[in-house]
Structure formats: C-alpha cells, structure tokens
Amino acid sequence: MEQLIEYSILPLMLFGITAIQALGLQLILGGAGLLSLGHAAFYAIGGYSAAAFSVYAGPALGITQPFLLMSLSLIAGGFSALIAGLLVAVPCLRLQGDYLAMATLGFAEISGTALKNIESVGGTRGFTGIAKLSSLAWVFVTLGLVWWALSRFRRTGLGMAIQATRDDEIASRSLGINTYSAKLSAFVVGSAIAGIAGALYVHALQFISPDEADFSRSVIIVLAVVIGGMTSLFGSVLGALILVAVPEALRFAPDAIREQRMIYFALIVIFVMLFSPKGLQSLLMRLLPRRKAKTATARGGSK
C-alpha cells in the first residue's frame, strides 16, 4: 500500500505539471486563438532557468532556505519563459495567418539544439544535480492559483479584449481594442505559465534534458487542450489528466499495446472531433444535465 502511494506521487505531480502547461496553452490557443507549436520550448526554458537559478545563482546569492529558493526559482522560470515568449511573439504576431505556428515550431527546434550545446547545463546529457524542492503541495497549490487567476483574468478588460480578438479581429479593432497587444499579452502570459510548470518539473524530477523542448512534447500539450476542450479551463485540466493517465494505465499492458500510445491519442482526438468538437468537457456538461433529467422523469414515473 505504502509502495502504491509512493509510486502514485510522481504521476500525480506530472499530471499537475501538465495541467499547468495546458492551462497556459489554453490561454493562447483557446483564449486568443493562436496556435503555438512550441509550448514545450517555453516549458524547457523555464525549467532550465529555474534549475540554473537554484543550482548556481541561488547559492551564490546566499539563498539556501528551500521555500524561498523554490519560490524564487518559480519566478525565474516564469520570467525567463515570458522573455522568450516576447522574443518570439513581438515580430511574429504582426504577421497574419499561420506564421506564428511555424515560428514557434522553429523556435522550439532552435531552443532544443541550443540547450544541447550549453555545457554548463549538462548539454545532451541533461541538467542533473538539482535539489528536490518541489512537492505535491507545491504543484497543486500552483495549479490552483494558476487556475483561479486565469478564470478571473477572463473577466478583466484585457481578458475580454483577448476573447474578442479571437472571435473577430477587424470588429475588435473597430471597437477600440488593440488586437496586437491583446494577442501579445495572451501569448506571453501563456508562455510564462509554461515556464512556471517547467520550474516545478525540474525540482520534482531533479533532472531535465533538452528533449523536453521537443516537438512531440509540444504536440502532447496541444492534444491536452484540444481533447479537453479549447474554450474551457476545466477542459485543459481534464485533457492533461487523460494524457498523463493513459500512458500510466498502459504501463502494465504488454509492450505491443503500450508502445502505440500515440495511436490511442489519435483515436481519442478523432472521437472528440466527431462527437464533441468542443472537447470532452462539453460532452460531460451535456451528459450531466441529461442524467439529471432522467432521474427527474424516473422519480415522476414512480409516483
């Protein structure tokens, strides 16, 4: 039993971290309608920066208290991803159409390659020797805070401007909304959230490799947001749960089945697109009232 609990801590943390990443992408993809195919790069940049902070900068500054060090690492991770997001978005968002998707894809490849060649953070071997500062509590408190802040953010002036820009850019501009800064804010804030997730990750696994910036990692996060439902924060968390739970559940399955997990994700995406284009959360929302209605009629019938 104890072993089971111990074993389940890591997948749970991974779920929380993926959920934070997905929430960040939800703001970009579902909130602003921008396709970022390099979300994992911001996650990796945040992770590496946070690790570099806690390994090199923190001790150099004389900060050793774990709570403080972890808090500052989170800020370092979020801030570095925010700057990276700015670097990508400032030139690319002036362009129309799918250039942003291409640019983010290119940026992710460049980041991965760059990280492989920086020896002080481990190069291709990855960054090791990071203190275990993160914990379940850190992950889920952060997840809760991010979730709460984003749900509140939707109702702010900027949040409304972002959603309006997603739905119709020309109309938004005609109503005085600065669509460029709306898109920029969404992209940069979403990237910063990915960076925070990265900071949590490195201090949980005490390791990060350049593979974390890989294209396939970015695709997983896009899948989480799409499967869960692009327009909903709950949907992104649900999507993250599925993307972490499916491989975990398959861990005990024979190799032949287990190694096809990308096929299962593809099947889930096809299923979602066919039966519930607004994601699994909308399927849930539709099923719940129906069940209520059923029980109501059942009660009526028994009378």
Partner: protein, 280 residues
C-alpha cells in the same frame, strides 16, 4: 476667422476630404469628400460596387488612403490604426455582421469597453475594491445600452444565436458602448422586414438625438434612406456624383442614370418607386 465661425454654425464632426485609394490599377474611391454634422443623419448611397464600404473602411482605418484626409473635429485620423480611430470617437457596424461568436450578448457589449477600464489586470485579478466598483459601473452601462436598443431579454444568449434583426441591433449597441461621437452604419436595414425597418429607423433617430451623435449610413432601401437622412451623398464607380437633400438627389439625372441606366431617363424622373422597394 471665417472658417472657425463657419465650423461653429455647421458643427461638423467627421470630415473626409479628397479621399482616394487604389488597389493595384483599380481606383476604388477617387476624390471623395463628405462631412457628418452632429445630431444629423447623413446617407451614403450608390449602386453595388460603387465603393461605399471602401469609404467606411478608409474612414475607420481598415484601409489607408493613398490621398486625402479624415478629421474628427480637429483630430487628424488619416491612416491611423483602426483602434486609435475607434478610441477617438468613430464607431461602426459591418455589412456582414461581425459579432463575437464565442461570447454572450452582454459580453459582446462588455468587450467593447474593455479598453476603457482604468483598473490594471493585476488589480482586477486581486479584485481590488476600486476595480470591482469600476466593473460594476461598466456592467451597468452595458446593460443600459442593451436596454436602449431593446435587447435586455437576451443578455445571456449566445450572440450569434439571435435572430438576424436583433444581431444588427446588438452590433449597434456594441458600437455605442465605445462612446462614439460619430456612428457609421453599413446597411443596417439589410435583411429586415418592414416592421423591423421602421423600428430601426426610430432607433437611429433616437441615437442621434439622445446621444447627440452624427450618423453616417449606407443603405440600399431608398425609402429608409430618404425618410431618415437630412443629407445624401451618391457614389458611383468610386466617385461622388451628387450631394444634397433627399429630394434634390432624387431628381438628379446623374443619380437616376447610375441606378436605372441611361435609357430610363426618358421614362422616369424620380427614384421613388411606388412600393418603396429597393432599387438595386
């Protein structure tokens, strides 16, 4: 000194002067001038493809004119960003309705004042009392604008699920939320039945008098335009062919030719068809 006193008496709000735009070799609008005074409804008519919507797009910053200028009183608007022009006080609606499909009716209107809020995002995240008060105030304004156009019962509806006529009204409400001084309406009565059109005409008049706005409208329904507008500009092939009061414009041979063709000059001397149906 004469121009100043002149301005005071006519009280011109929006003024376009000698606007020209070319798309490659095509001159879409040439030498277009027009003024919209406060509290008046000005019409812009012309056959399909005359360049009416292009004029709107030039005035609202969607396109940059090759030549000419646009002023709102003393503010130069020529070739400025669309959102800057909107913030200066020129609001518009669209020929093909452009509502925010993912938002409710109320949210559509709220989105239009998003940039007017003074509370910064961090403050609103933390729900500071001043920000909460501001949000409440804006919500109240949004609801009163919706009540003004008669959409109070639909606040929670998905914007695009509204009936067509109400979608047009919502677009007007949304434009009003930016606190404009001049409102540009692009075919507001298109696709409406006669009752809805009458209602809309009343609403436009009310906007004009209650809010003291200048209104410029593009419309194909001649009865609607002639009843509502004090001044009409007629556009054909990108050029102004007539300016005047409705009765002056109706009698103008150039206008009749543009609408009905050269042959019709002999058998018609008025644009007003017996049924008041649209001519184009």
């Amino acid at each position: 000194m004469i121009p100043l006193s002149d301005r005071k008496t006519t009280n011109v709000l929006l003024k376009a002067e000698k606007l020209t735009i070319r798309f490659g070799g095509l001159v879409a609008v040439q030498n277009f001038s027009l003024s919209v005074p406060a509290k008046q409804i000005v019409g812009l008519i012309g056959p399909n493809g005359a360049g009416k919507t292009t004029v709107f797009n030039l005035m609202t910053g969607v396109y940059k004119p090759n030549e000419g200028s646009v002023h709102l009183e003393d503010i130069e608007l020529t070739a400025r960003g669309a959102h800057i022009i909107a913030r200066s006080g020129v609001a518009r609606t669209f020929q093909n309705i452009r509502l925010f499909a993912g938002l409710t009716v109320l949210e559509n209107v709220v989105a239009a004042q998003s940039w007017q809020r003074r509370g910064k995002s961090i403050a609103s995240l933390l729900s500071w009392p001043s920000v909460v008060a501001e949000e409440k105030e804006f919500l109240k304004q949004a609801k009163s604008v919706l009540a003004f156009v008669g959409l109070s019962d639909y606040e929670e509806w998905e914007a695009t699920s509204l009936p067509y006529g109400l979608q047009r009204k919502l677009e007007i409400a949304r434009a009003l939320m930016t606190r404009p001084r001049v409102l540009l309406l692009d075919e507001p009565a298109a696709g409406m039945n006669p009752t809805e059109k009458d209602e809309l005409a009343g609403l436009v008049r009310k906007i004009c008098s209650n809010y003291g706005l200048g209104v410029l409208l593009i419309e194909h329904d001649m009865k609607f335009v002639m009843d509502l507008c004090s001044q009409i500009t007629v556009l054909d092939h990108g050029e102004v062919i007539a300016v005047g009061t409705p009765s002056e414009v109706q009698k103008n041979p150039k206008v009749i030719e543009a609408y009905l063709g050269a042959d019709s000059l002999s058998d018609t001397n008025s644009l007003d068809t017996p049924t008041g149906d649209k001519l184009v």
